[in-house]
């Protein structure tokens, strides 16, 4: 007696239902075998047998589906196993490549771009289109880092996040946490850039920093900049300042006292080296971090204000001029020497171009005035020495100018050329992926619409589905290859101790990448876009004219 005649337990009913479902969805070409297997289920002797038979049916169903999918994959996009996407005249118009080919090529391209090198290249190029600004994903990554560092009581990572985050309140909390965990990190009080003005450095932080590092001019300079009122800031508002303007600036006693302390401090250290080492250590540990994220904190490092330093130097020089006029040349000489000495100390203690430029600028002003002083005193030898010093400073300025060194210029040019390739292949890869997806989706989602469309409208999706994936793969490989010099620049920067040469290589590579995005999203974007449109339309017009001419000649050559 078969189980069909018995009372069916729930498990057997479930097995029958499952097999019934499978038969309904069985691939068309061998559904008869599914029906044959299902018809036998009524002959089974027990619930267990029913279950076993159904299980076998499901296995066969899975096998049939996989085999059917594989057969479907071997066909070009837009076609079905029953034979579809045939043109109105009966001519078959389908892509030449199979779905397997398309899928494999797309998967290989995706795999290449998903490699760590590929991810870094994508992140970098994407950042260049956002002018190297921090993205939302960067902010989330920083938050994750901070949460982990807090859990592990990792003071240096907390300090890194505090110096890198764009959120001033978050930075304040994290700075306090980092210094509480490791008091050696107190320098971060003076390393975060606090502009705009609504995010001023905390007075207690600067006071603690001055107490911890009393011989350093930088904490005093930072505080002086924070307390300077409009009397100081507006010194140059009316062109060259006059006596009255200097008197107004000098009346800001707190600012004057802090600047005096800074100018007389025996050392200058803006903590950039420590900031750099902190960043480098973290980047070596967290290699997957985007370089924009890693460097954004470093690039917004707090440096003393150029205007502040220049203003105070001019106040001192003005005082020296007054002393010279009054005949007190010793005091004038002493004041100018003080300014020059500060400039030299600053240049010696700074590790960045911008600080050196500020320092030399201060020193140059003092020496120029000193030459005037010695000239008026008839001290030819001293005047010559001061003039020579001015010339030395000018020559140092020349040395820092971009393009001064032909090797530097060549390097920058090379990076620009390589950046063009990177951006070009990147754009090509994006266009190719969009084209491939559009072609495949049009063929797969609207096969009947494509079937009934004009020949050209059927040919375009086929062409996109055929050549889009291959173009993507080629463009991805070329993109990664052309990005290698940039990757090497990052690697060298990550591995090295801080040196201006490494920074310049990195900057050259990054400015190079900005070239194309600036044309498209920069201030002259409209000009670039209209130029492109004009050139493209002109090329199209030429093509149409040339084709018309060619056809006309053929018609003349072959009369009906």
């Amino acid at each position: 007696m078969s189980v069909a005649n018995q009372e069916r337990p729930a498990v057997a009913r479930f097995a029958r239902w499952l097999l019934g479902c499978a038969v309904r969805h069985w691939p068309e070409e061998n559904r008869a075998w599914g029906l044959a297997l299902a018809a036998e289920i009524d002959e089974t002797w027990s619930a267990f047998e029913t279950l076993k038979w159904s299980f076998g049916g499901i296995m066969l169903f899975s096998r049939s589906v996989l085999s059917s999918v594989w057969k479907w994959m071997k066909l070009p996009a837009g076609s079905s196993l029953s034979g579809g996407a045939v043109g109105p005249e009966g001519s078959s118009l389908l892509p030449k490549r199979s779905r397997v080919f398309t899928a494999v090529v797309l998967a290989v391209a995706a795999l290449l771009l998903a490699l760590p090198e590929g991810r870094e290249a994508i992140r970098t190029v994407r950042a260049s289109w956002q002018e190297y600004g921090q993205s939302d994903s960067d902010a989330r990554t920083l938050e994750k880092l901070a949460a982990r560092a807090k859990k592990e009581k990792d003071a240096s990572t907390l300090a890194f996040v505090a110096l890198s985050t764009g959120d001033p309140k978050r930075a304040e909390v994290l700075t306090d946490q980092a210094v509480a965990l490791d008091p050696e990190l107190i320098w971060i009080y003076g390393a975060r850039n606090h502009w705009p003005k609504n995010d001023p450095p905390r007075q207690d932080w600067l006071a603690r920093l001055q107490a911890a590092d009393p011989d350093n001019a930088v904490p005093y300079l930072l505080e002086a900049h924070a307390v300077a009122g409009p009397r100081v800031h507006n010194l140059y508002d009316h062109g060259t300042p006059k006596d009255a303007d200097f008197e107004v600036a000098e009346s800001d006693s707190k600012w004057m006292a802090l600047m005096e302390r800074a100018y007389s401090a025996p050392r200058y250290d803006s903590y950039f080296q420590r900031h750099y080492q902190l960043t480098r250590t973290l980047w070596n540990r967290e290699k997957s971090l985007s370089f924009v994220l890693v460097l954004s904190g470093l690039w917004s490092h707090a440096f003393p204000s150029l205007l502040n330093l220049r203003t105070f130097a001019d106040v001192k020089i003005h005082e020296a001029q007054k002393a010279r006029t009054a005949g007190d040349w010793k005091r004038a000489e002493s004041l100018l020497a003080e300014v020059d000495a500060f400039g030299m100390r600053m240049a010696a203690g700074s590790g960045t171009k911008i600080e050196k430029v500020i320092a030399w600028s201060v020193s140059r002003r003092a020496n120029k005035e000193m030459a005037v002083l010695y000239s008026s005193l008839g001290k030819t030898e001293d005047e010559r020495r001061a003039t020579l010093r001015v010339e030395q400073i000018d020559s140092s300025f020349q040395g820092l100018r971009p393009g001064h060194d032909s090797a530097d210029h060549e390097r920058a040019q090379t990076f620009q050329r390589e950046a063009l390739l990177v951006q070009g292949f990147g754009i090509l890869a994006v266009i190719a992926v969009l084209a491939a997806l559009a072609g495949v989706l049009m063929l797969e989602l609207w096969p009947s619409r494509i079937r009934n469309a004009q020949t050209i409208s059927r040919r375009v999706p086929c062409w996109l589905a055929d050549y889009g994936p291959t173009t993507l793969l080629v463009a991805s490989v070329a993109f990664l290859m052309s990005f290698l010099p940039f990757q090497r620049a990052f690697e060298e920067y990550r591995a090295s101790n801080y040196a201006l040469l490494n920074e310049e290589r990195l900057l050259d590579s990054m400015w190079g990448l900005l070239e194309i995005p600036q044309y498209v999203t920069g201030v002259n974007a409209a000009v670039s876009i209209w130029t492109f449109v004009t050139v493209a339309l002109s090329a199209l017009l030429l093509f149409v004219l040339a084709r018309g001419f060619y056809r006309m000649r053929r018609t003349v050559a072959k009369p009906a």
Binding site: A4, N30, A32, W33, L35, A36, L37, A38, A39, E40, D42, E43, T44, K52, W53, F55, G56, G57, I58, M59, L60, R63
Partner: protein, 103 residues
């Protein structure tokens, strides 16, 4: 016309079962019972044999009302000779030996 290929042990078992009553039609479930081969393995073998044109199939109207028609199988004339040869060769190679069939 059928095609000859290399056969697995399970396929030889199915062929042996089909050769027990060579001219008679057999049901899938009874083949599974006599060979102890589960449905998930048996049907792919039957599908393959049919594709190679070794197997003849037909549908049988259900004897009980409300039940679906059942599928029947038997070896084609030429395939019977080939099956015997394959079974003999497999036994000689000691690759396969026949199971005890139900009477």
């Amino acid at each position: 016309m059928g095609v000859r290929i290399r056969l697995s042990k399970q396929t030889l078992t199915v062929l042996d079962a089909l050769l027990t009553r060579p001219g008679q039609w057999q049901h899938g479930y009874s083949l599974s019972q006599s060979t102890s081969i589960p449905s998930g393995t048996l049907y792919p073998i039957l599908m393959r044999l049919e594709k190679l044109q070794w197997l003849e199939t037909r549908w049988e109207e259900a004897k009980t009302p409300g039940r679906p028609p059942r599928h029947l199988y038997r070896l084609s004339g030429t395939a019977r000779e080939w099956a015997r040869e394959e079974i003999h060769a497999a036994q000689e190679r000691r690759f396969w030996k026949p199971a005890e069939h139900e009477a």
